[in-house]
């Protein structure tokens, strides 16, 4: 049914297709805008299908290896390499496949949405080129098994993201936001490169499985760990390194903002990969676990409290994105803190991690959806200022319905998807430390309060004279929002099947360091 070529080469195609799409986009844009739109939509659709095929293969057959340049993709160690995997290897385990699914869904929805939302702007060839480069960057980061290659994709993602944040020049404000993002990302990337140098100097390897296999937990390793934790936590917007987030998220076009959420999650993936796959029990899991927990709690509290007084709807949502990242850090941090204690892992550690990882998926769906609804409103009324809005529910009913779904999901209201993952986090974290669980619940209440304000400000009230003629968002935008809203509802109604099929295998892939190493080095 699935062509053998795609089945075998899916990991490489995952990056090759969006790269090809990106670089040919300016040329195809010369033909006609319609041809460009068909090209971009087609490229993203094919990439998403390949990602889903790869994920299906991983969840049914196990970890997929793809060795670039090898006669057989699964042959990770050449016979004359001295037992070291010297080629670039993509190692797609269940955690990577889980992230691939998120990238495919949000990427496709955002591109579909952008076909209408960006149609009034100029320079769209460049916009879509940057967007597809972001897609390639995320797919590369979450799929690669080579740490230097991870750095390369991180840089591709950062550069493309900075370009797309600055796309809507907006009196220089967008450019300022992009420069802030780019400088911070570059400084973070330098530290990632330092860490890679430390590993390479000690272990003669850039392959992630090889580094994990040879990891000794030396002082140098700890320095590398600190540099990676700080850089990747900053890239995912953890407090107090979150300052770039509201600037960048609010100034980027909304379709790009929805994907920037996924880009941040790719860094979160990198952070988790370093902690569990590289170090695992060689680090002081309790200390580092608590560091991650504290970053999570700070993100949750500062994010939501900073969101409430915001008047720019996208800045408000950006602060909520920071807050929600805190839940993921909290869940994973609790799992890490008890990593060495199998009874505690069985009791609540795996559940906390399941909750944290499930929340990554849920957050990508509802936060992506919320940014798209904000973009639909901006598209129609030309402002992001909540004080200037009101009564739009009369004219933009579908957008309002999608916003309600996103808002209830982010606030953790049943039966939407955000509730299921938050419940898993609350209950497991409560056993670990009740105060942390109470803070998490209070943050959810504040999130609901914040979105009640946003809902009222945008949609409720009488039809205002200045918006009397406002129309509903165009069909492609509604379809983009509709896909994410539908999945937020479906994943909320059937959480067990999502956890059993996708989340739990991802968490076990993340924690099972030996299996990851064996999947690469065992193929020699």
């Amino acid at each position: 049914m699935i062509p053998d070529f795609i089945w075998t080469n899916a990991p490489a195609l995952l990056v090759a297709i969006p790269l090809l799409g990106a670089f040919l986009c300016p040329i195809i844009g010369k033909i006609s805008p319609r041809a460009r739109n068909v090209w971009v939509g087609g490229i993203m659709l094919v990439t998403a299908i390949v990602a889903l095929i790869l994920a299906y293969r991983v969840f049914t057959d196990g970890t997929v290896l793809y060795t670039f340049g090898a006669a057989v993709p699964g042959l990770s160690i050449p016979l004359d390499s001295g037992g070291i995997p010297i080629r670039i290897i993509f190692t797609v385990d269940a955690m990577s496949a889980f992230m691939d699914i998120i990238c495919a869904i949000v990427g496709f929805s955002a591109i579909l949405y952008s076909l209408a939302s960006e149609s009034r702007n100029s320079g769209l060839e460049m916009y879509y080129t940057l967007f597809l480069l972001m897609v390639a960057g995320v797919f590369g980061m979450v799929s690669t098994g080579d740490f230097f290659n991870f750095f390369v994709f991180l840089e591709i993602l950062s550069m493309a993201s900075a370009g797309i944040i600055a796309y809507r020049v907006d009196g220089g404000v967008a450019v300022e936001a992009a420069i802030k993002y780019f400088v911070l990302s570059s400084v973070g990337a330098i530290f990632v490169l330092f860490a890679i140098g430390i590993y390479y100097g000690q272990y003669d390897a850039l392959n992630m499985a090889m580094i994990a296999y040879r990891m000794q937990g030396s002082s140098l390793d700890m320095i590398a760990l600190v540099m990676l934790v700080a850089a990747l936590a900053m890239k995912c917007g953890a407090v107090p390194m979150h300052f770039w987030t509201p600037d960048a998220y609010s100034m980027a076009p909304s379709s790009a903002t929805a994907f920037l959420v996924v880009a941040s999650q790719a860094s979160l993936y990198g952070l988790f990969r370093v902690l569990f796959t590289f170090y695992n029990l060689t680090l002081n899991a309790v200390t580092v676990g608590w560091i991650i927990i504290i970053l999570g709690i700070l993100s949750m509290v500062v994010g939501v409290t900073m969101a409430i007084p915001q008047k720019d709807v996208k800045r408000l949502m950006a602060y909520h994105a920071v807050s929600q990242t805190g839940y993921m850090l909290l869940g994973i941090g609790v799992g890490l803190a008890v990593l060495g204690n199998q009874p505690l892992m069985e009791s609540f550690g795996y559940m906390a991690m399941n909750g944290g990882v499930f929340h990554i998926l849920n957050h990508a769906l509802y936060k992506g959806l919320l940014f798209l609804t904000a973009g639909a409103i901006f598209y129609r009324i030309g402002t992001r200022n909540l004080n200037k809005m009101g009564g739009l529910g009369h004219n933009m009913k579908w957008t309002m319905v999608f916003f309600i779904i996103g808002a209830l999901a982010i606030a953790g209201i049943p039966p939407l998807n955000g509730f299921a993952s938050k419940l898993m986090i609350y209950e497991s974290v409560f056993i670990f430390n009740p105060i942390l669980a109470i803070i998490a619940m209070v943050v959810s209440i504040l999130t609901l309060a914040s979105f009640v304000k946003v809902f009222h400000s945008i949609f409720m009230g009488p039809k205002l004279p200045e918006y009397a003629e406002v129309k509903e968002a165009p069909l492609p935008m509604l379809l983009g929002m509709g896909i994410l809203a539908s999945l937020a509802v479906i994943f909320g109604l059937f959480p067990d099947i999502v956890v059993t099929t996708l989340v739990s295998p991802a968490v076990h892939a993340l924690t099972d360091q030996a299996a990851y190493i064996a999947s690469v080095l065992g193929g020699a």
Binding site: M222, M306, L423, K453, P495
Partner: protein, 116 residues
């Protein structure tokens, strides 16, 4: 197919959205039945449907819309001490952003070294 309707076990508890939905539907049906047994004296389009504002004339709809800036005034006033400290930290200055990032890295390094 049976898996679709399985309950999510969360360690200390469980969650079945479909059972929850069923409960909501039953509650809505009960609410509807209660509503149908209510008074039928309400007449649409008559003065009885207009709001009573101490005998004053009702202002125009666009004049009474409560905008975002008017919401949660009490909450923000109650947490004024917190906001007076946390908001100024968001300076918008890239140098400060870098300083925070590097400071956090140093703090993490100190913690990792102390508890090594």
């Amino acid at each position: 197919m049976a898996n679709l309707f399985q309950t999510l076990v969360t360690g200390a508890g469980f969650w079945n959205p479909l059972a929850w939905l069923l409960g909501i539907v039953v509650a809505l049906i009960i609410a509807y039945l209660l509503w149908t047994r209510g008074e039928e004296g309400w007449k649409k389009g008559t003065p009885q449907t207009e709001p009573f504002l101490s005998g004053n004339k009702e202002p125009g709809k666009d004049e009474v819309h409560i905008r975002a800036g008017n919401l949660y005034w009490g909450y923000l006033e109650a947490l004024k001490g917190y906001y007076d400290r946390i908001v100024p930290l968001h300076t918008g200055d890239l140098t400060d952003y870098l300083l925070w990032y590097l400071s956090v890295m140093v703090v993490i390094l100190v913690l990792v070294v102390i508890y090594a």
